[in-house]
Every structure is written in C-alpha cells, then in structure tokens.
C-alpha cells in the first residue's frame, strides 16, 4: 500500500497545505500574539473583552445560532420529502436547490438587498396589493434571512445524503415492530441521521459565525458582527495584530462549539429511549 510512489503522489497536497493552511495559520498566530514592535503581547486577544467586541461576538453567536436552527428546521423535512421522492425526482429537486449556488454568493446577497429595500421589489408588490410594506432591511432579521438563504443547501445536502443511506427495510422493521410514524421518526430516523445533522450544523454555523459580507450588505453599516470587526481591522483600521488576535478568539469559539457538538453526538448514540 505505502509504496514510495504513492508517497510522492501526496507531495503536491503537502505543498498546498503548507502554503495555504499552515503558513497563514502561523502568521495569524504570530500577528495575534505580537504588537507593532514585534514583541509578545496578549493585548490583541484580550481586547475581545471590550464591550464593543463582546457585543459583536454575542450578536454573531445569536444570529448564527438562529440561522442554524432555522436551516435545520427547514432542511430536515425537505430532505425527508426528497428521500421519499426516490433517486430520480429527488436528485432533480436537489439539483434545482443547488442551482443558485452556481451564481456568485455576492450577487445573490446583493439581489436580496434590492428585493428588501424600502422601495424594493417586495415592498413594491406588497403596496400594489394594498398590503403594508416590510422594513427588515438593515435589521438582524435581514441578516438571518441572508444567512438562511445562503447556507440552507449546506444543511440540506448532508442530511439528504445520510437519509438516502438509511435502508427502507430498517424503517419497515420499526413499523413492523409496532412503531407509529412519530416513534419511527424519534427512534430510527433522527438517531440515524445525527451524523448528517452534525455536518450540516457545522457547515452552516461556522460560515454564519464568521460572515461579514451578509451583514455588510443586508445589515447596513449599523450592525457589527464579529466578522465585520475583524474585517475592518484588516482593511480600514490596518491593525493586522488586533484583527489576528480576534480571529484567534473566534477560532477558539468555533473549536469549542465543534467539540460540544461532537460530545453530544457521542452521548446521543445508542441512547434513543
């Protein structure tokens, strides 16, 4: 198996990883733990404790959690329906679902900005129908909407994939043993789809927590998420040290949430009753 030839095959990937993962990570750690003179400091990291940054971090956590929950609630039933449709029709609907992902992420979010504007398309239609307009642009709601819209496919796909792997006869066996639809869902569908749910949560929660584009475009400049704070330190503030320090904190937060989810996954296994 591990002949010298296969070892050489791994070489490009090792170069890639060193160049684009290890070195940037090392740079962030270096910048995060030093000040402008290059001497060691924890100031950048600890600056997360300033009220402004705490507020941004908690708002980010709240919005990304909310989006993740909404994505999960929308994606699971959809994935169930897709599975029941069978491979043919199911994969076509999945394809339709993924189609918008072929369009640029920025463009799609800009489109929502235009749709949601005070004099935008949606309000135009609503007022034409004599209905009161909606004013969610530049509010946290618009950001949640943008997150859910952009990240929903990342929740649907892993859940759909895991549901497709569940054998029909496993479900039939549960029914055969007397379980009704709700019991079958709670004791069979749900526990068996936990790995898909976990990867879906990861794939939605992490980008939602770190996004700054969605909050920039749909939240106006009034709502600052932690992603915006970091972005501004790098672009406008030109304080790479502070930006890197905050990035490190965010990374720790993500690692902690992943560890929590993984722990829940282990506890959840086998204890379905």
């Amino acid at each position: 198996m591990n002949s010298p030839k296969t070892k050489y095959l791994a070489f490009p990937y090792i170069v890639w990883m060193i160049g684009f993962t290890i070195i940037p990570l090392a740079l962030i750690v270096y910048y995060g733990l030093t000040d402008k003179t290059g001497s060691f400091t924890l100031e950048n990291v600890l600056s997360i404790a300033t009220p402004e940054h705490v507020k941004a971090l908690f708002l980010s956590l709240a919005l990304s959690l909310a989006s993740t929950v909404i994505c999960l609630l929308l994606a699971y039933p959809l994935a169930m329906i897709l599975r029941k449709k069978g491979v043919g029709a199911g994969s076509f609907i999945v394809f339709i679902f993924i189609l918008p992902m072929w369009m640029n992420f920025l463009l799609r979010t800009l489109a929502w900005q235009t749709l949601l504007e005070k004099s935008g398309v949606i309000n135009g239609i609503l007022s034409a129908l004599g209905l009161p307009g909606i004013a969610i642009i530049n509010t946290p709601w618009a950001i949640i909407l943008g997150m859910v819209y952009n990240f929903l496919p990342f929740m649907v796909l892993p859940i759909y994939n895991i549901l497709m792997k569940i054998d029909d006869n496993t479900i039939n066996a549960a029914k055969d043993l007397g379980a009704n639809s709700l019991q079958t869902f709670l004791h069979i569908w749900l526990p068996l789809s936990v790995p898909g749910i976990i990867s879906g949560i990861t794939m939605v929660f992490v980008p939602a927590l770190t996004t700054f584009v969605i909050s920039n475009l749909l939240g106006g400049s009034k709502i600052l998420l932690i992603g915006n704070v970091i972005e501004q330190e790098f672009t406008r503030g030109s304080n790479w040290h502070l930006g890197s320090g905050l990035s490190l904190v965010l990374m720790v937060f993500i690692l902690i949430s992943m560890a929590l989810i993984a722990k829940y996954d282990k506890n959840g296994e086998g204890s379905t009753f």
Partner: protein, 358 residues
Amino acid sequence: MNQPLIDLVNISKSFDGDIVLDDLNLSVQENTFVTLLGPSGCGKTTTLRIIGGFERPDKGSVIFSGNDITKLPPNKRQLNTVFQKYALFPHMNIAENIAFGLKIKGKSKSYIQDKIKYALKLVNLDGFENRSIDSLSGGQQQRIAIARAIVNEPKLLLLDEPLGALDLKLRQDMQYELIRLKNELGITFIYVTHDQEEALTMSDTIVVMNQGYIQQMGSPEQIYNEPENAFVADFIGESNIVNGIMVRDELVEIFGAKFPCVDKGFGQNVPVDVVIRPEDIDLLQPGEGSLDGIVTHLIFKGVHYEMEVTTPDGFEWLVHSTDMFPVGQKVSIHVDPFDIQIMNKPESEDEEALGVNE
C-alpha cells in the same frame, strides 16, 4: 377444516403497469410452515409484503384470523417480519434491538429483560446483550433479527429470504434451526425463497409461484414427485422433460419407444409432457431397456455420477446413478412405471404463460 390464519382473496398488484400478482388466492392454516417458492420476479416477495402491510394490493383483501386487515398499517398487524438483509437497527446494541417492539408496546422493564434473555437463549446467543451489531457475523445478525421478531409473540412470522446472504454450511444449519424454532414456538411461518432445496427441507407446504400465479401448492413430496406442470418439474430439482404421446391408459410413447406408466385418463394418442427425474433412470445393457443410447458425458458428483445419455433422436437424458458407465458405452434406458410423471400439454398460449414461459 379450521378457519385459516391468513387468507389472501383475489389479490392483484401491479407496479407501473407491470402485473406482479394476478388474482391470487392463498390460505394458510395455523401452525404450518409455508414456503413461497419461485424465481425472482414471480411475485413471492410482493405477496409477503402485502401480508406484512408494506404494500397495498390494487384489488382483493387480506383476511387475518377472520378480520379484514387489507388497509391496516404494518404497526397494527399481529405479525412480524424477518427482512432479507436483517434490517437491524445499527444505532442500538443487541438487547435494544430485541427490546424495540416491547418498549414500543410499553412493557415493563423486568418483562423486557426476561424476554431478551429468553429470546437470546432460543437463538443460541446467550450473553450477547451488550454487543454491537457490527461485531456479529451474518448468521448471528440473522438470529438477532429472528429474536427481535419473535419476542413480540406474533401469530405469524414472515421471513423474506432470510438465509440468502449466508454461506452454504451456515444456511443448512440455520434451516434446522428454523424448523426447531417453529416447532418450539408453535407459530405459523411464511417463508419466501428461490432456493428449492431450502423449501423442500423446511416446509409443510410449498407454494410454487411464477409470473404472479400459483403454479402448484402441496407438500414437498407432492411438489417433487408429482409436479403439475413443466415449470414446477423444471424448477424443483433436475428433470428430463420430453414430449410424449399417451398411447392409451398406462402406456406412453417417447421417441418411438413404449414406456409403461401408471397414469390414466388422458385419452388415446394424446400429446403430453413427460417428466422423468434423473435419479429415476436405470441404465441397463443395450436392448434390455426401453430406449437405447450412448453415454456422452460423465461427471463424478460425490454422491452419484452424473451422466448424459444421448438417444438416436438427439435428446440428451440427464441420469444420476451410483453405477458408472464410461463415455461412449452403449446403454439402454429403463424407467419404472411409477417414476414416470405425465402432464397435459398447455392448451393455449395463455396457459403457456401460466406454466412454462422461460
């Protein structure tokens, strides 16, 4: 006759316009081992799924102990199924798998514990409670699937090719195991298989199916010794099926040679199908039997020799015998009258489809 445990009445079912079952009627008595036997696509699994409640018939009804259960969902039926690939719950250990049905029914903890112990003992897997599914071999998983079904004390156990994935030796062991289980539990088994040997070994009654129709129903001996048509004869065991002419009662002519037989009532000079099992052919010295031929093929099979004897008309007779005749030897075929099975030829093309349609 008692009221049957399960009664299928005029069941029809088609998938996307393909008729899988056509007006099927089947009664199963309590405490019998019934096998649905047939090639793939004959409708045997669909029949089982209709009894289990996983398919709804397009027409007809399913009567269980006198009650119409056609529209009842599977979870409300007093029967359990052992699925083809076991379908154990991978996220539960063995005890949890076995306990599933009982927990759903809200049985007490001590009752469930006792039942798990009892069921594991019954399938010879004592002490396996906390093992995971992955740690079991195929045969063991199959036993757990059976244990999981029988702890619910069903009146009827449906088994969908449960031994299909096991190797030969294990399959034979499990066959005896299943017979023992059935006798110990006293419940009715409906067993689906395409393996004729399995069917002959285990069943009280065999139902031979093809193309959505029941071809013959009877005891293993009846099915083997008196196949009603060429399909059954061909499907169950090996056989020589040849064209013959029923000269008169108790005399049939095959390739110009006269063979005394025991069948009556076919009329005079009527074309018929004749079935002769390979082990029923005796080879004698040339001129001593009814039909002369030459041995053209010889294989040693362990229990017996398998030979092919070609007669002047070109037909190759399959012969099983413990006596060896070398290739090229001239022999004569003799068959005892009661070993010759006469069947009517299918009269119409419809009947042809019903019987032999290869």
